[in-house]
Point group: C2
Chain length 312, copies 2
Amino acid sequence: MLDVGRLRLLREVGLRGTIAGAARSLGLTSSAVSQQLAVLEREAGTALVDRSPRGVVLTGAGRLLAARAAEVLDVLTSARADLDRIGGSVAGPVAVASVASAAATFVSAAVTGLRAAHPDVSVTVTAAEPSQALRLLVAGDVDLAVVDEYDYVPLALPEFVVVRELCTEPLVAVGPAGSFGRRRPALADLAARDWVMPPDDAACGLAVRSACRAEGFEPRVRWETDDMLLLVRAVEAGHGIAILPLLSVPDGVADVDVRPLREPALERRLIAVARASAMGRPVVGTVLEALVEAAKHTLTSQKRQFARPSAL
Amino acid sequence: MLDVGRLRLLREVGLRGTIAGAARSLGLTSSAVSQQLAVLEREAGTALVDRSPRGVVLTGAGRLLAARAAEVLDVLTSARADLDRIGGSVAGPVAVASVASAAATFVSAAVTGLRAAHPDVSVTVTAAEPSQALRLLVAGDVDLAVVDEYDYVPLALPEFVVVRELCTEPLVAVGPAGSFGRRRPALADLAARDWVMPPDDAACGLAVRSACRAEGFEPRVRWETDDMLLLVRAVEAGHGIAILPLLSVPDGVADVDVRPLREPALERRLIAVARASAMGRPVVGTVLEALVEAAKHTLTSQKRQFARPSAL
DNA sequence: ATTAGGCATAAGCACAACTTACGACATAAG
DNA sequence: CTTATGTCGTAAGTTGTGCTTATGCCTAAT
């Protein structure tokens, strides 16, 4: 049976992008992490990370396994939460910083849900990009940060934080109405198109560009913006196609076609981050659990949307 | 963080009903199991098992935690399967013994799915009660057994087997049309009713009787049968109400109302069992995975049924 | 009574996982 | 080019956890 400690380690390495960083955040030496990672690779029978002197990046198998690891760890912390819930009441203020697309969807849902279940908990939400959200987190201005993470773009988390996976959503191709065939497009099929894209300093833009290069082409970017509404309008106007996380596509503001990619299956992971010290407050744990639950439901309802393509 | 080894141990104890039995099946001494269980209880802060000289039975918290443990272990073996799937083809005959309700639903679905995905795998299914299925398993007549397990009724698995959780379904109250109110009934509300029930030597009957006694009443049994079709017809005819696992309620053969219980949340767990030695054959693992997948889908489609109460 | 099964505790041992120490390599700054 | 600081990996020594063995107590069946 695969060892969970090693799996956690793998996930942390994937999140931090370096072995040394993972070691710091786990309170170990980099030597220990290196050794355990080697053991895990031997057990798995495959390379799980690509080593480079500047850090490491997860291979395909590594990402797969890291995703499973996140599942396992989430269940474990849920179990711990179950046990804690038997005893002890929760109340107090909790500040959350969240990326906009999550704030507009499941974070909002979680807060309304909490208002009913725990009336004494008062949550305040501020929208912030991941880097700013993490700054607010370490500064102590917020208790929880909801940030996103893309393939090819390690997250570089600060130290002394705990991480909780919220949901994984597909990146979808967005194009003018009728611009894709019946079938879900492969990324390689889109090489010749014009592109509308978030700027390169946004993780999303970087991830998509990296994925395109991995497919062997450089996207011809005609329009660049990080305003999702403007971006979708630009697509509608025919300036190009875009690839975005599903939750970031504004609903019903433009007549565009949305299709998940057939291949490669690009994803965005939404994760919640808390200062390890803040986990002493049971309220924070409760809010975190509420976020996890709400994210799970949002994800399934999104899936249902795709079952009825006409709804998009 | 909760230790997975200890969680597996807890689950095994719950399944076997005795510490010594769990120890044998894990290849440990009963002393080790006892010690680790004590550690887990200290970590959890609650009693997880009720000790008696004749064995142990899980407490509420213990069942909760054991369920989480099953989740974790399932994810882990899925991860292992992911890794193995990268290399190695599967073919050959596999014999499965299954309880009827599962055979009629997701086992059938799994087999049709497998026919498409792995044409060289030939599965044969025989319907059998849990005890007989396990006998066939240890005798080597079948490679996999799909059996069910109820609260209050430990399963007493044989040794040298591996266990995989398939799905957990609610026990539902079945009554003549219109016999329940709008709201989901609590078990205590049904104390004064007449009952139709499987016999006491079926795990289902024993579990329901135990649950009733835990609620402080003895069910007035007017009709006793283990034929599900006859049972439902008896309910329709007004001889009493019944409590059955959802999958065991035949679909569309009688005009009855089906309601999940509000409280307590009784459940049936369906699990797959294989001889540990048979896991050397990759085919067996593949069929097992297919069962897990099919069970998962069956469960979600059942949930959807309950979203539209009229459909029942 | 005696046997056989269950569970818990005490004491000792073994291995796994950690730390420390070191070497190789890459980048950035002097 | 040299130095400093970052990365990762390997080797060797240490420690703590989780096992076994040994023992005792309890209950149910013979």
